[in-house]
């Protein structure tokens, strides 16, 4: 394992990675549970550890607007937000990706208001799912650090040129300390050379960004952007592979446990994947063939890989830490249902809603979900609608 073992909370680990990535511009507005990231970075800039412009903006809308402008000049740019902050950024999310501005953003996943809550839901991560940003999910503090470094490399690749979000669960990862291996600065520089601008701001060669684009060009530009997102997948694989080799820490779009011979499995995002695996290991010892599928890469959705992995499964419980009101299922469920629909051999699916606003996902909850999955597999009958767990009736 390359690097030095230290103890950091998730936010500090992200800030440390951003410092090592030697960003040029940080434009951010503090919001719980991402605040520590922004505080740490302003400290690094203030004490001279990081030579970057720190723009203390007056809102998240401005934070992302400034980030987009800076990224287009050729600067390496970072921002961070959570929940309501992401909501306030929303229109600029689309603009960033459509202008191919390679901003990297950390999202300290937090529930949307109302009622006001500062704890973890994946509402904000899901709110960005259609906006053209690449999205990664960290399961632990090590991954939050590693994925931040890799996000810059992916985003700035000439074949990609799309912004990235690194999701880390609010409080569960942002404020909790774990041991992690951090790379030497010189190793980071080797892995992540300075960004090369595509259309740098140059008065000798002026260009126009964000022109009016009506029915004569708009659809071509969207078609092009769709292709960019699809193509980013091969670059992501390449960067994951390079980083895995470089550090000895393996990164893949989908992480699995026990899936080779599993009868039933759970599909899940973020820090709860560890909890699911913890329970799965226990059930395996009792001879139950269970598996866990978790997504390190959420956008672009690793569809073809998922199809291969789910072939032998009888039932798959898809667990969402959010809810999509009025939809036929929550967000990850719809992604997976759409991915598998045309498969001849596919598991029965059902949707679990858990953990909203930081409600703890306990091992007994996960055991219940596995039990339910076995029931679905045996009876061939799926629940009529989603099942809410860890909720008082």
């Amino acid at each position: 394992m390359r690097g030095r073992l230290i103890g950091l909370n998730g936010d500090t680990a992200v800030a440390y990675a951003v410092k090592q990535a030697d960003v040029d511009v940080i434009a951010a507005y503090p919001i719980t549970p991402q605040t520590i990231i922004v505080e740490k970075l302003s400290e690094f800039v203030n004490n001279g550890e990081l030579n970057a412009a720190f723009v203390p903006v007056e809102s998240e809308h401005s934070a992302l607007s400034a980030s987009v402008g800076a990224a287009l000049t050729g600067a390496r740019v970072f921002t961070a937000t959570a929940s309501q902050g992401l909501a306030l950024m929303y229109e600029i999310l689309w603009i960033a990706s459509s202008l191919r501005a390679t901003v990297v953003m950390a999202l300290g996943n937090r529930a949307f208001s109302a009622p006001i809550n500062i704890h973890c839901s994946h509402d904000d991560a899901y709110a960005a799912r259609d906006t053209g940003w690449i999205e990664f999910f960290a399961e632990n503090v090590q991954e939050a650090y590693d994925l931040t470094l890799q996000a810059f490399k992916v985003s700035e690749d000439k074949q990609v040129l799309l912004p990235s979000i690194v999701n880390l669960d609010g409080f569960i990862l942002t404020h909790s300390l774990e041991g992690l291996y951090v790379l030497d600065d010189k190793d980071v520089r080797e892995f992540l050379p300075p960004k090369e601008p595509v259309y740098p701001v140059d008065p000798e060669h002026p260009v126009t960004y964000g022109p009016l684009d009506l029915y004569d060009y708009y659809i071509e530009h969207k078609r092009q952007q769709a292709e960019a997102m699809r193509n980013s997948y091969s670059t992501i694989l390449k960067v994951f592979e390079e980083y895995s080799e470089f550090t000895g820490r393996k990164y893949e779009p989908i992480k699995t446990y026990g899936i080779e011979d599993a009868e039933v499995a759970i599909a899940i995002l973020g820090s709860s994947a560890g909890t699911a695996r913890y329970v799965a290991r226990k059930l395996r010892k009792e001879g139950k063939k269970v598996g866990v599928i978790s997504f390190t890469l959420y956008r672009p959705f690793p569809a073809s890989e998922l199809r291969k992995l789910t072939r032998g499964l009888k039932a798959l419980a898809v667990m969402d830490r959010s809810y999509s009101f009025g939809s036929p299922g929550a967000q990850l469920f719809m992604d997976i249902a759409a991915t598998l629909f045309n498969e001849k051999e596919r598991p029965l699916l059902f949707n679990i809603i858990y953990g909203l606003g930081g409600r703890d996902l306990k091992p007994e909850h996960v055991e219940y979900v596995f039990d339910k999955a076995f029931e679905v597999a045996e009876t061939g009958e799926t629940p009529e609608s989603e099942i809410w767990i860890g909720v008082r009736e």
Partner: protein, 96 residues
């Protein structure tokens, strides 16, 4: 802009960037005009008020401060005619 005209999505520059400067020059707005300003050079006193006020700008200023009208871009708004202190610019129907 002509270099991008009708191009497919594979050929267009990414991010809807227009990598060529001053492409608005290619967009001739003269055909938006219903009323056309006609300048009587004999009345003109070279005060340049029309040149200052034209929003396009479609009043061409010459070396000696005499002016002429750039019909490629003039949209026929009539401001020049309105501000002219000696009534040297009259608006006439296009095609008349």
């Amino acid at each position: 802009m002509s270099s991008l005209k009708g191009k497919g999505w594979k050929e267009l520059p990414i991010g809807a960037v227009i990598p060529i400067p001053a492409t608005s020059m290619e967009y001739k707005t003269g055909n938006w005009r219903a009323l056309k300003p006609v300048l009587d050079q004999n009345k003109c006193i070279k005060c340049l008020l029309c040149w200052v006020h034209c929003p396009e700008p479609a009043i061409i200023r010459h070396e000696d401060d005499s002016v002429s009208i750039d019909y490629d871009y003039c949209k026929g708004c009539g401001i020049c005619s309105n501000v002219c202190p000696v009534k040297a610019i009259t608006m006439v129907m296009e095609g008349e």
